[in-house]
Structure formats: structure tokens, C-alpha cells
Amino acid sequence: MIFAQILSALISLKRNILRSLLTMLGIVIGVAVVITMMEIGAGASASVRESLANMGTNVLMIWPAATKTAGISSGSGGRMTLSEGDCDAIREECLAVEAVSPSLGRRGIQAIAGNLNWTPMTVYSGSVDYFTVQSWGLPESGRYFTAREVETAACVCVLGQTVRDELFPDTDPVGSDIRLNNVLFRVVGVLPKKGANMMGMDQDDVVIIPWKTMRNRLSRNGASAMGGAGGSSSSSSESSTDDVYPASSASTYPEKDSVQAENYILPVRFDNVDQITCSARTPEQVSDAIEQISAVLRRRHGIAPGQPDDFMIRDMTQMLKTMSGTSQLMTTLLLIVAMLSLVVGGVGIMNIMLVSVTERTREIGLRMAVGARGSRILSQFLTESVLLCLMGGCVGIGFGRLASMVISAVLGWPVKVSLSAILVSAGVAAAIGVIFGFYPAWRASRLNPIDALRHE
């Protein structure tokens, strides 16, 4: 019976083919706009999410908590509570964490290559996963350092593009040697360009070395050498030429000069790391990651419930919120515009259905006279309007896909096929058919058969 009803609705739509097509056009355009908007919106928000991840909004930094000795607070990172084992545990147990790396940054380390020198903004250090955590992608040339190089505290480094431009203006630095605070490093790779970050800091003005190398060779006092203050103080002493050319006279048993001292692997008593950097799988999973990391670290550090953490986790929640809020706002806005155009299409449907009911009053009267109940008349007209909208919806989906493909091809905007958009707009089209078709259909079903039969 439903099939027969659809068939007869199709027949009556075909009878006024031009009018049906024109009416459908409203829905076609509406649905096409919805599809295009949603695909552009999805593409935009995907690219926003990608750039968010590039900006490091999914990055979490774990610091040891502060200590307080005799009323004097050490500031964050005062304790040495984090270990390499913590790193491994986070990597293995926290599902929301994508990658994790011990890390330590130092400022004010001078880099020297040939007769050129440059002091990079920061010398970072990390494990092989550091590049994943900071979403550096693939190296522009050369390679990143290996796990073995990290384990053996090898003197290898990866240069940011600003550093490369300063130290190797004309040549490919891969395979060359540079000195960082008089320790010789082999350049194994060059980072891709990242540009400035949100605060306007040049993210390419960096050198990245293995974290064990940083701990054992660049920082004399191991773990506590991180942070701006430690970095600047050590740089002032270490870059002094007095160490390179000692003024004191030679002794029988020559003392180690600073170059030898830097190159000598210091015995380390503790397996401590200064800071752990890790990345959540997506910016949305940052809060999950924080929860999981807290749980793991509290367990490993044996902190009883109720006791304060001996570590701090920092994220970029605020930035994330702002950014994803913006893209969400855009998507919602586009959707509202698209929905409005669907409503306009729906009004067109209602208009035409009213005309159709008026035009076919005699037919309605006749159908009632031969025994059609009001509900059958209602469902007949509803079927027509829903069919009209659904067909318009299908055509609209096709046009919308086409339009977004054209847009992505011509304007180069990111576009993402969204199945939910297709399902939603098909559903909305059907709903519009019902909503805007209901009043005309209801009017048809309430006609008095006698008057309807006499209608001219």
C-alpha cells in the first residue's frame, strides 16, 4: 500500500513536472548549501585542528613540583621527582598520550660553525619521540637522531632553519660539525620550517639534541641546569675564553680543560629527568591525558590519596578553547545559514502544495466521494511533499558534493566529506517535507466532499 501510494504520488508529481522541478529547486539549493557548508566547515575545522596540533596545543609539560626549604621556595622544578621510568610508564599506560619524551631546554648556548656563530633562542633536548611530541613532522634534510644515539649520549644535533641560515648560509649542514659551548656536535638533520608561535617566538631558532647528551655533556650539574636562570649563568661561565686558553701555568699532571670536561661523561647517580613533554592524541583528549598521567605518576611516586602531587602538569587549555571555539562557531554559523535556506525551500514547498491542493480540489472531492478517508487524503499529499523534498534532497546532496569539489579544486580550500552531513540533510529534507507539507495536506483532508466536488 505504501508502495502504491508512493507510485501514485510520483504520477501526480510527474503530471506537473515543471512545477515539481521548480519546487524541488528550493530544497535542492538548500540541501546543496548545507552539504557544501558542512563539508567546508568540516574541512576548515580539520585544518584548524591540524594547525592547533602543530602549534602544540596538544602538548603537555610535566614538571616536578616546587620545594620549600627554610621558607624559601625553589620555584617549579625544584624537586627531582621525575625519572625515565615515569616516561616509560606514561608511554605504556596512558592511552590518550600519543608520544612522550624527557626534555630539557637551555638558553644562551652559543653555537659555532667555522667562523660563524649564533646563539639559538633555545637548545632543546629529548628522546626520539620529541619530534612527534612537538609535531615537527619529517626532517627537511638528513634525519632525526636515533634511540641508540640517545642512549649513548651521542653528540649529534638537529638544526632549526633559522640556525641553519645563520651558521650555514650557503651549504647543506648535514654531516658538518658545530660546537655548542665548545662541545663538538655532528649535524644529522635540519628541521622543517615552523615559523613563529602564538607569542611571536621564532620556533625555528632552535637546536635539538638527545636528552642524555644534554644532561651528561652540556649541563655540568645534571638535572638542575634547566630553565632560563640556570642556562644563562652557565653560558656566561662556559663561553669565557679563560677556560679555552687557561692563563695558569701548566702543571706536571695537566688538569682537564673545559673541553675535555664537557666531553667526559659525568657519572650520574640518579635516573632523573628534569621535565617530561608529551602530546595527547588530539587536542580534545588533553584533559583525559592529564587525568591518566596524574594517576600513573601518583601511583609510581607512592602518593597517598589526599596528598598533593609532587609534579605539575601544564597544558594550553586556554588557547585550545579559544581556537576550537572559533572553528566551532564558524561551523555553527554556516549551518544556521544553510538551515535558513532549507526553511526558505520549505516555504516554497508549502506554497506549491497549497496551490496543488486548491487546483485538485475536485479530485480530492471525488476521491472522498468514492470512499477515501480524510487520513488517506492527508497521507497522499504528505507523501507527495516528502517525496518532493527527498528527491530534492538527493539531487541537492549531489550538487553539494559537486560544489564542494569545485571549491576545493578552484579555491584550494580544505574540504572534508561528511557522512553525517549527508544523513542529516536527507533527514532534514524529509522533515521539511512533513512539516511544510502537513498544513496543505491537512487542509485537503478537511475539505467537505460536496463543496470540493462543486469546486470550479
Partner: protein, 231 residues
């Protein structure tokens, strides 16, 4: 003369409200329609015979009085019940044919079956509709649309359509009003034939005495009252 009473009206009235005033259209109509009769409701235009036919055919409800169909009171039925009764018991033939334009004769005849409660297979329905079209002499024209047919042919399609639900009673409202005298006679002969051969009860509503002459019995309606008849 004929068989059992099929329809009995007892003191039936119909009042239309026009603004503040009540206009009585039918007053105290009492009549009996027997099974198998060919009856004419006659009278001048505006006399109330069409209103009476609408009430008899369950298109309209009486304002008062009793309407017995097969001995059962059917004066206070709901719209849906009346729709079902129209579908199962009653066939209509109208003055202006009321065929669906741009629809073939066969589909026009089949249309009431869309609303039938007892469903038969499409093949069965089609065969039945074809046999009805054959009976009204339009077997060769069943794929034609009303626009391709003469008035007499259109009215015969309408008769076939009225018969498709196997009704017990057929109402024809001025069935020859739009036809010339020759085709009128053909159509009226067809009614007579249906009445005699099939025993179908037929009610003709007309103002013309020539049409009335084809009926077995007649009621004269004037100013909303039965003013006489030939039984």
C-alpha cells in the same frame, strides 16, 4: 413492485446555517427505497433533491430525523464511517463526470479500489475493471484519457468506476445533464439494463421528465418536501 426496503427515511430534515438565519433545505422527508428499484428523484432546481441525494449517499449528514440503511440507523455516523460506507455500498455518477484528467480510463475505473478495505491482487482488480469497461462498451478505449473521449464515453467510464466497488446502490446526479439527447438515451438505457440484469438499485436525480420516464418509480421534491410520486 420490488424487494426489501434498502433505505428508509423517517422525518429527515436538513438545515443550513447562513449567517444568523437557518435555511431549511429538507423538511420532514419520509421515503423508502426498495432493493432493485430504479428510482427518480425529480423536481425543480434548488428544490433540495441534490441535498437529499448527498445525504442518501453519505456525503452529507442530516440535521434531524432517521436514516435507516438495511434497517440500521446510520444518521449519526462519523466522517470515517461514512467514507467507508461510501466505498463499500455506494457508487456515484456525476453530471460533469469528474474523471481524473490525464489518467487513462482503466486507471480512472481502478481508482476507488485504492481505498477499498478488502484488498485483491492487482491482476484481479485489473481484470474486474476491464470487464466493467467491456460492459459499458469501452474495451478498446481503456487506455484513452478523458480528453480523448466524447462526453457519452466519459460518462460510461464514470459508470464503470461507480460499479468497480460492487456497490448495492448507485446514485446518479443529473447524469445526462451534459450530454446530447442521443447519448443521454444510451446512458439511460445502460442504467435500465444494469437495473434489470444485475438487480442494481439506482437512484436518478434529475429535473427533466424525459429522464424520469426511464425510472420505475419517482419522488417529486419541491421546496424541501416530498410533494408526490409515482410508486
Amino acid at each position: 413492485m420490488s424487494g426489501q426496503p434498502l433505505i428508509e427515511l423517517r422525518g429527515l430534515t436538513k438545515v443550513y446555517r447562513l449567517g444568523e438565519t437557518d435555511v431549511p433545505v429538507l423538511q420532514d422527508i419520509t421515503l423508502t427505497i426498495r432493493e432493485g428499484t430504479l428510482l427518480a428523484l425529480m423536481g425543480p432546481s434548488g428544490g433540495g433533491k441534490s441535498t437529499l441525494m448527498n445525504i442518501l449517499g453519505f456525503l452529507d449528514t442530516p440535521s434531524g430525523g432517521t436514516y435507516l440503511l438495511d434497517g440500521k440507523d446510520v444518521s449519526g455516523l462519523t466522517a470515517n464511517q461514512r467514507a467507508d460506507l461510501r466505498n463499500e455500498r455506494i457508487g456515484f455518477v456525476f453530471q460533469n463526470f469528474n474523471l481524473l484528467a490525464r489518467t487513462s480510463a482503466l486507471k480512472n475505473v481502478l481508482m476507488p479500489l485504492e481505498y477499498a478495505k478488502t484488498r485483491r491482487s492487482a491482476r484481479e482488480n485489473r481484470a474486474w475493471a476491464e470487464s466493467l469497461l467491456e460492459r459499458v462498451g469501452l474495451k478498446e478505449r481503456m487506455d484513452h484519457t478523458p480528453a480523448q473521449m466524447s462526453g457519452g464515453q466519459q460518462q460510461r467510464v464514470a459508470i464503470a468506476r461507480a460499479l468497480v466497488n460492487r456497490p448495492k446502490i448507485l446514485f446518479a446526479d443529473e447524469p445526462t445533464g451534459n450530454l446530447d439527447s442521443k447519448t443521454s438515451e444510451e446512458v439511460l438505457r445502460m442504467f435500465q439494463e444494469l437495473n434489470e440484469k444485475e438487480g442494481l438499485t439506482i437512484v436518478l436525480v434529475t429535473h427533466s421528465p424525459e429522464v424520469g420516464a426511464f425510472a420505475k418509480e419517482a419522488y417529486h421534491i419541491k421546496d424541501g418536501r416530498v410533494v408526490g410520486g409515482t410508486y
